[in-house]
Symmetry: D3
Subunit: 229 residues, 6 copies
């Protein structure tokens, strides 16, 4: 059947990609991979959407070993409670076992999960009960947007609101709360715009998203202030 | 404080990486990203460990838009049931909404989750109750290894067994079962060895892992046989 | 009230049945029951529907002490996960404590649970939310049938598909997976047709149901082959 | 391997039993099975332990079609709540769809589940976490026994207490509560002694177990009193 | 904004009330509060609705230290099971740690939770999914009322039925079952009528609600009978 | 038995209290209760510990009808998620149906729940598994305290930290998030000291607890600033 063979072709392509990685890319990074063979020590837990257009290592221009990466639909972090699953365990592992210094929650433009939350009918959410149930973890973001009458809610506004909510959820996890209290952990919210390639960073004081250079400047200022103190 | 400033430095580095992506990498891929701005249509759902040394797009040499990526500790897929979370919803979304043709479960060498399962004490699993609870989804893999007296269980054997188990779990999800019955979906198990950069592929008939070129040959043979039929 | 008295009569009938058992049947089996008084060691865990027309010991012509019997609507085995109840505990007990050698999942014709899954409206499933929720454990069977366009789905096709699914679910239970790996446990799917009294057996290789004599022949062939090896 | 062949032999025996049923037993009951082929209308939901020595139809000397049978370890009925599984759905189905008139909960002597509850260590309950969790549904029975200092708790006392508890749990299910209020449903607790073949019946007024003939006499008296009224 | 200032005013009023408590009421009870500063030993666990018109200490004319008070919507006690939350933990704490002698479940007239259960549409229950889910714990009370054709169900009838159900749920909790068996714990159901200020008490024998003086007389009679015995 | 009669006496005392309420207190408030008979419209949801020494209406010097009161051990608010119970439903009802303007979470001195969290062994928490599980909702507060090396953690510090955590949990509830965004809801954390009768109020800006008069002054200042704007 033609269709099946087309599908099979994409699988073969993937496997050819693996061969290319093995023969062309790996040799150039042999030392890096050798040093990583027996352990990892990433500084950052990066939580992103499963969306195929979001590539954490590309966006951050990082190498294998740099980012511990958690991905699900909608870059969601269920609040800590009695029902603990894949996200909660990854957070616990990243903070307690790997002792990461940062957790970044990265939303993105044109997110299918956010679109489904904003317009369940157009997204046929009734046909996807498990997705609908998962998106309850972003429900408070939708409720906030609906409550503020600042024009029609957009996917982008919802994504940004959702990043803020998931950061709030992160704080309910004991390991995160302890890391923040101890000053050994920082949380940061990002929003990545696919069309422009731009990332903006959540400024928790103003609760707005600022440009990367501004975010860097703020961190530098904090460093200077700490150095003086 | 020195420690905090070091940590802050890695965060600033990440943000500099973002700037580099934006000024150097993005312009070279402007057309690709423009074409992806309003939608995605990935062929493959790729399920991998959150481990920082595993980079799905690098291993497969794919571009943004190619892989819908789900990552958690231990590349685990809870079986379908009453307790449905991030993994189940991503599977439902990938199969029902994105209509992917393939699902790949990719284990890897030196996996911290598998090490914790194999030796809970050495891994201080008692201090990470949420991780311990999550790893129950891989418990049947450990039980199999313990049952077969083929020498001491190793992290690699467990990882391979775990890939087989998670493939079995995938089949319990209605959307996956339907796709398999319809012939529009294929499942594949991979194991990635960090030290050698090599990927081996689970052959479901022999229940062993085979080399990529062999896997390609098998797929080509199926294509030929289908074309004749 | 007449109605109540009719109902009471059936209860009295049951109690008279008990007296008959005690005075007529028990004495003939006194030795058997004496030998069973202090312990049981059944070889088989038999999982069947609660349906009143299915009588495991009658179908298999076995005696008290032979079958450990688990019955619920739809002869369902939830996959192993975080939500573990009556079925999971019975499997764990049968395999770990009783060390049974076989687990048989037995579906049957004209099954009310399968009819409800196939036609929720005609079965008034909306009035039985708990049943509806329980049948999600058979949802993948329904999805498979709907996906394959081999004519209209029938209760029998669904029951057979369901037996296959529940066998797959069994494999996700650690104790079962270990037993299979060790070679000390076998799984078998059956379908019992009430009208003809016939049982057919799932052949896992061909994924079809075969006659009992054929199933016996296959087992005999395996015995011979093992004896030679 | 000898062991495997022995095990296989018991499976072959079961299949031979099926053939015997088909050729010898079924023909004698052809009319009964023909009348049952398209529907069932049992009067009673019978809830018993999965124990291989307990055979509901034998004990009650009933025919196929008479008893809707639910079996799990410990003849347990979880109270109605948010976590609803196989037992709750079978109750809902039996009462709402089949409109049974009676529910019998039947405990038995030498019950492994009760032994495990009474002496977790001797029963290696720590190796069976799912069983341990399931037995929490009988915990209140154990607590009552421990609270009353009437000599050392025995498996029999616990089984009887457990039957009373599960009857109380039954009353928390809406369908059961409604049936009781309407007068269309009766509940009865039984205890079956394997060694003597005797069944005793829970008298809810005195909260003691009475002989079958006494239970029949009480029902007859109620009938007479109703007829007069 | 006027509205916000009005709201703020009620908050300021509350804080003024606190000041009044501190300067006027507290000094009069200084000795009582001093004696309570380091420990509590209440005799009674009082379970009431969150309704603003129900004031347990006012109704019973008790002092701080007398009642351990649990309040939620509908004065509900989920039956003991696998899903244990705030109510179950408070019961366990009250009985096991505080060793209370009594548990009182107090329903009341015009209860919003009961109205929502009786008429979900008028109460917009579809907009409050969490409330709807919580009220499943009172579903058996509604089912009983619907089953008995004693005229249209009223909020009062449902509240009384609900008190009976929650008392039944209490009995499924191991700590409660043990306390009852030991004779160290009594359960009592109350119904409080806001309009008349009257409380009636559930008489478990007759399953009706009786006046307070009658309830006292019954307790006195039991005391006398115990003293004689 | 003496013991039982003593216990019965306290129950009779409670009932005498009810009679006193009915004959002495109710008549003085007849008009208030008449006006409340058919509806309630409290401005505030007050969340307090079940502790017998905490009396919300006394502390705030409020009347029946003023406070919608939720009480459980530890004045805990589980974060919004998939497991929703008594607290979540009460919040939903208070905000969506009653449209309260304020939610106050009130901790207190010498809290048994906080003591159990701080010293599980001394509190015999191992004997109270349900309480232990419920206290996981306060675990992040304990983790914070343990992380900050500001001397030994005290029950008071933990209670204050816990109030802050539960306020954070409140924000994860959609109805609360929407109310906050709309400006129609305010949250406030309180700590009540039993020995001194003093209440201090959480200042969210400084994350410290301030005196009531200071809290009033801040609210007045906000009113003035709003009036000017
Ligand atoms: Zn997305
Ligand atoms: Zn890994
Ligand atoms: Zn059936
Ligand atoms: Zn048993
Ligand atoms: Zn109420
Ligand atoms: Zn407290």
């Amino acid at each position: 059947m033609a269709h099946t063979n087309t599908a099979r072709e994409t699988l073969i392509d993937l496997l050819h990609g693996v061969e290319r990685f093995n023969t062309e890319v790996f040799p150039q990074n042999r030392d890096l991979f050798a040093s990583l063979a027996e352990s990892q020590s990433p500084d950052t837990l990066f939580i992103a959407c499963a969306d195929s257009r979001v590539n954490p290592s590309m966006i951050t221009q990082t190498q294998p070993g740099d980012l511990f990466v958690l991905r699900n639909i909608g870059n969601i972090v269920p609040a800590y409670g009695e029902m603990l699953g894949g996200v909660s365990s990854a957070i616990e592992y990243a903070v307690s076992a790997l002792k990461v210094s940062h957790i970044i929650v990265c939303g993105h433009s044109n997110c299918g999960a956010m679109k489904a939350l904003l317009d369940p009918q157009a997204s046929h959410l009734d046909k996807m009960p498990t997705v609908a149930s998962w998106l309850r973890n972003a429900e408070a973001a939708r409720a906030v947007l609906e409550a503020t009458d600042a024009g029609p809610a957009t996917v982008r506004s919802l994504s940004e609101q959702n990043v803020q909510l998931q950061i709030a959820h992160l704080r309910t996890h004991p390991a995160v709360a302890a890391g923040l209290a101890r000053g050994t952990l920082t949380l940061q919210g990002w929003f990545y715009d696919i069309a422009s390639g731009e990332v903006v960073v959540l400024d928790e004081t103003s609760r707005t998203f600022i440009h990367v250079d501004e975010a860097i400047a703020k961190l530098r200022a904090q460093q200077a202030s700490d150095a003086t103190a």
